[in-house]
């Protein structure tokens, strides 16, 4: 017994100080082996493949969307550097109609092509802006000016007949 105590005391003297402060009992600790980690990665890989397939299938199920001819507003109701929101091509697909200083009109889907937030018209900068990740779009063409979006906004084709603006095609599918 005394011999054991002596050996333990000797072992404590030989170990560095941090070992007693941060002691790890490897028999009690459950650690992940390289083999297990590789298997876990493979499982994640299968899950990602399933996710990608689900996304593609869901997009395919949406099908093609009809683009009706919708009266948006009378021309006189939107002043230069003004805007009006509407829904096109169907309910729930928000869009924005802009009137420029020269009197011409543009309309775009409000859905940001980055991650789907709604863009708004920033009057002081005369740009369309996505508040989520600070994406900026040109008010005439819908092209990306700055920020993370890789594509421009979906353009909605307009027609003006007898003083009324009609949305005729384009927009969010």
């Amino acid at each position: 017994m005394t011999q054991c105590k002596k050996e333990a005391a000797q072992a404590r003297r030989q170990d560095p100080h941090w070992k007693s402060d941060f002691s790890v009992d490897w028999d009690r600790t459950s650690y992940v082996t390289r083999r297990e980690f590789t298997r876990f990665l493979a499982l994640g890989s299968v899950a990602m493949a399933a996710g990608s397939t689900f996304m593609a299938a869901r997009a395919g199920m949406k099908g093609s969307v009809e683009h009706p001819r919708i009266a948006v507003t009378p021309v006189d109701e939107v002043k230069p550097r003004g805007f009006k929101t509407f829904e096109y091509p169907s309910k729930g697909h928000h869009a924005i109609l802009l009137r420029h200083e020269d009197g011409s009109f543009s309309a775009f889907s409000q859905r940001c092509p980055h991650l789907g937030c709604s863009v708004f018209y920033s009057e002081h900068s005369d740009k369309l802006e996505c508040p989520c990740h600070e994406g900026f779009f040109d008010v005439h063409s819908g092209d990306v000016l700055a920020g993370p979006p890789q594509r421009g906004l979906a353009v909605i084709e307009l027609e003006i007949v007898d003083g009324t603006i009609y949305a005729v095609s384009g927009g969010e599918a």
């Binding site: 298997r39 990602m48 990608s52 890789q150 594509r151």
Partner: protein, 68 residues
């Protein structure tokens, strides 16, 4: 360590390296796919999904080498 064990460890490390690289590519594919899906750009979704399935099959095949 015995030479046989050493070889086995090398194989596991090699497989792990390959799987990590493939996994990273797949992560890139799913992020790009999600971006395209939310942006209404549906044309690249099936190519991305098929590539992802091929990579997943490859990963599973590699992991099968180190089953035991």
């Amino acid at each position: 360590m015995r030479p046989a064990n050493q070889t086995r460890l090398w194989v596991i490390d090699g497989v792990l390296m390959f799987v990590i690289v493939l996994w990273t590519v797949q992560l890139f594919l799913i992020i790009t796919g999600l971006d395209a899906y939310l942006g209404g750009e549906h044309s690249i979704l099936w190519p991305a999904a098929i590539s992802s399935i091929v990579i997943a099959a490859l990963c599973v095949r590699l992991v099968a080498y180190i089953r035991d």
